[in-house]
């Protein structure tokens, strides 16, 4: 068995016979630094935090003191800084280069937003302070709400949802509450098969039955199938616009009118609002509820998987059912409507979605972005994002299979399939790993499900033409080489901090926490 060494000269755990070679004593290679786990490096009696002494008073823990060792190693400050700095260098990030994940919208995160979110007046206030002491915070929420309502053309907004999927839940609960208020038993929710997985999952959580509506050969919802399915049992349709194929749904207004005519509601997944912000208002398309991912359209950082923020704009029909708390203007100033005031002013509210008031830190960042761009700049955000995506589509469609390119321009993302790799034994996954070796984060792969081996490329407005040309050049190079010599491309990536990882092993024998007994 060969073993690679970590940087204390100790073998890391390896599978026997895999042929790993320790080329250096430490396992490091110049600036390619391996980093052991906290549990292999820290110690139980090290602390990097300086605290005042504990006053000698008898405890009042009722005999429930924690005696056994917990097992939490500590770092000194320099150890901690190095641990996390070394780990950070094993991550790709928008700060390092183009991050063209379709549907995820990885745009530049302006640093002013970070600075503003850290102002003590926003960061160092408690959610349950008396309202007279947080008027500035309520003002920020109120101003942001006003921007969101005007940008979407909708009369109300619920601010507390914590992320996009949580916003979907808010919208669908509001629809369910509106139906219940009318004793309307309809329970079917229609979801296009190209939808994000969160849509059907959310609908199911609210007690709805999900039925899929197929896409047509132009990548849009099949209008005839949709209209044919509408009826008195349909509670709502959930539709993404622009959709997950990166295409505008031109019939959304017709669908909305037809859904309303049979007594249902229209939920719009606003994940792709960044493609149309400032150019189209969803309120003009008959939408009843739409969440807005502040971490997509309005540039709050994705943070390696959150936090997000998902305010939901609501139509007049759904507004009375909005969750508490919410901010309201009164003669005495701004008021946070909670349980006590809700009884008199919002008696149809469906209740709370979260313990407190939503993602304040994300609100500050998003408002900072909106104020910086303004109504004119946000419109240009959408235009530049769409221009960049169409440039990619036009520059690759002769080589990559572009299933819907014939039906006209795309919106903010370009969709390809891996049909052009047929016969090579290679797939989208291999192409994605090859792009990693080229120094890019790959596009979104295998989503949407309506296209075989989908590759969804979203450049965002952040990227210059020079950056796009480099990505296009790399994608053309990789595809051309794969077609010419398929066998050379089955085992990437080769230059990343890790080679291809065994996801099957991870799922078959889950190791979800470190166990001390496994220390080599």
């Amino acid at each position: 068995m060969t073993t690679a060494m970590n940087n204390v000269g100790r073998p890391t755990r390896l599978v026997a016979g895999t042929g790993a070679v320790a080329e250096t004593f430490t396992g490091n290679k110049a600036l390619m630094l391996e980093e052991p786990l906290l549990f292999e490096r820290g110690s139980l009696d090290t602390s990097g935090v300086d605290l005042p002494p504990v006053p000698p008073v008898p405890d009042r823990l009722g005999g429930l003191g924690r005696d056994a060792v917990i097992g939490l190693p500590g770092f000194s400050e320099p150890e901690a800084v190095r641990h996390y700095t070394r780990l950070s260098r094993q991550n790709y990030a928008i700060d390092l280069g183009i991050f063209p994940l379709g549907s995820c919208t990885m745009k530049h995160n302006p640093r002013l937003n970070e600075k503003m979110a850290r102002l003590p007046g926003f960061a160092d206030i408690h959610p349950l302070q008396p309202q007279s002491t947080v008027q500035g915070a309520l003002e920020l929420i109120d101003v942001l709400a006003d921007w969101l309502m005007k940008l979407t053309g909708m009369p109300a907004v619920a601010m507390s949802p914590k992320a996009g999927a949580h916003g979907e839940l808010c919208g669908m609960v509001a629809i369910r509450a509106a139906l219940d208020a009318k004793n309307d038993p309809r329970r079917v929710v229609l979801v296009p098969e190209s939808a994000h997985g969160t849509n059907p999952a959310t609908a199911a959580f609210c007690g709805f039955t999900v039925e899929n509506i197929p896409a047509n050969d132009r990548g849009r919802v099949d209008l005839d199938a949709m209209l044919a399915r509408l009826g008195p049992d349909v509670a709502a349709v959930m539709i993404t616009n622009p959709n997950t194929c990166g295409l505008f749904e031109p019939d959304l207004k017709r669908i909305s009118d037809a859904v309303h005519a049979v007594g249902g509601y229209v939920y719009c997944d606003g994940a792709n609002f960044n493609a149309i912000v400032g150019r189209v208002r969803p309120g003009d398309l008959g939408v009843d509820a739409m969440h807005i991912n502040l971490h997509k359209t309005f540039s709050t950082p994705h943070g390696g998987g959150g936090p997000g923020s998902g305010p939901v704009v609501l139509s007049a029909a759904l507004a009375p059912f909005a969750p508490i708390p919410f901010v309201r203007k009164t003669a005495k100033g701004l008021e946070l409507v909670e349980e006590d005031t809700a009884g008199t002013h919002a008696n149809q509210s469906f209740g709370r979605m979260v313990a407190f008031h939503g993602q304040m830190g994300m609100f500050v960042r998003a408002l900072s972005y909106m104020m910086s761009h303004g109504a004119d700049g946000l419109r240009q955000v959408a235009e530049d994002a769409v221009l960049n995506a169409n440039y990619i589509l036009a520059s690759l469609k002769d080589l990559y299979t572009a299933p819907f390119a014939a039906s006209g321009p795309c919106m903010h993302e370009a969709l390809f399939s891996d049909d052009f790799l047929d016969g090579t034994g290679l797939s989208t996954l291999d192409l994605a790993k090859a792009l990693i070796d080229e120094g890019f984060h790959p596009m979104t792969v295998y989503f949407p499900l309506v296209v075989h081996g989908a590759m969804l490329v979203e450049p965002t407005e952040t990227e210059s033409k020079a950056n796009l040309d480099q990505l296009i050049g790399a994608m053309r190079h990789v595809a051309t080489q794969m077609l010419a010599d398929p066998d050379a491309w089955r085992t990437g990536p080769h230059f990343a901090p890790r080679r291809r990882l065994d996801e099957t092993l991870a799922a078959r024998k889950p190791v979800l926490a470190f166990k001390d007994s496994e220390v080599a």
Binding site: T12, L14, S47, G48, P52, V57, D59, G62, G63, I70, G71, L72, G74, F75, A80, H83, Q90, A93, M116, L119, I125, H126, S132, T133, Q135, K162, A165, H166, H196, G197, A201, G207, V210, E249, R281, H295, P301, G303, G305, G306, D340, A355, F356, H357, V364, M371, G374, A375, L378, E383, N388, P409, A496, R498, R499, L501, E503, A507, A513, F514
Partner: protein, 442 residues
Amino acid sequence: MLATIGAASVDDLFQDVPAEAVLDGPIAGLPNHASEMAVERALVKMAGKNLTASTTPFFVGCGAYKHHVPATVDMVIQRGEFLTAYTPYQPEIAQGTLQVLFEFQTQVARLTGMEVANASMYDGSTAMTEAVFMARRITRKSKCIVSAGVHPHYTSVLKTLTRFTGDVVEAGTPVFTPGAPGDDLASLIASIDAETSCVVVQNPNLFGHVADLTPLADACHKAGALLIVVVTEIVSLGAIKSPGEMGADIVVGEGQSLGAGLLFGGPYLGLFACREKHVRQAPGRLCGETVDASGKRGFVLTLSTREQHIRREKATSNICTNSGLIALAFSAHLSLLGEKGLRHLAALNHARTVQLADRLSRMPGVTLLNGPFFNEFTLDLGREARPVVRKLAEKGVLGGVSLGRLWPGEKALANGMIVAVTETATDEDFDAYEDALDEVMA
């Protein structure tokens, strides 16, 4: 670029937008773009209207606590490679985030005394709701009994979602047993029946009371139900026996105390830990260890067949984006503390709380309701507490949370005020609090 595309103008690219929805220019009623300096000026002005915790004697808790966050934590989460990364869908170039999540899961599991933890939820309240749904999936029963000592906002969130899921939630009104406010363990045990999927209890509870949950765990297990323990002050686990040691099946918590700061309620950090045998019913993302093609250890997101992007309407949860960066802040803060530092921090919080509880309970008209507590206690002020809290704020003291704000309809609770004390409160803050309360009560 337009020539390559074959379009005459950018407007042509929006040709699918129906004519009635086309906007000719920027949306009316909103300002145009502004300079960095102008935006900063406007937002600084808004922020200046708030009374910040660090500039005032501060004793507010109830699910969010003011702790000192080491400067290193903010440096770590502002590393662009963490801040501006996405969910680690391409693990070969996301090992930084993935290893952090693996370390975080291990820390949370050990802190709560459980075997495994997920990679985070939105906050404590949503984590609690997900735990109740998970208990239903495991036990195939749907009656959930919630202790009246659970934060009422958490119970409210649970009730919002269970209106539609078929879960039956039984939640009572808190009772002030002398020396054990909100302690309803005996009645919870009596309520457990064959239909019970789970009992949800908070420890320390909303009123600060600390209880031994072992008898409750035994009663749950005897009836085939699960015990869900909520921890809103995670620092308490540096001093108090963990829920896992007392027999919990699922532990959920609010991780805000470590790494996040107050942030007016968000973004916070939902903690979710459980037994290994139940992990396939757990919500949210899980990071697991594996090896790469050359045999090197690495980490990936795993068991994703539970999740919405694979299972769609049959998923264990609809959660997608969670609280990755706050999990990093939590993990970095906890690794800077280490076991030694966490125990010190917890002991300091407790001792300072004992000191203030003794001072305030000696004041005329003020009664301390708690026996055992950690860093939070409840006072009976002998008069309605909500105006007292407001008058304290007028004197620049943020003295606590009135029960009237949390239970607006309950007259029997109206005289109660919950006071939290952390390592950040100084002797001068104690003096200022006592003086202000003395004046307000006079």
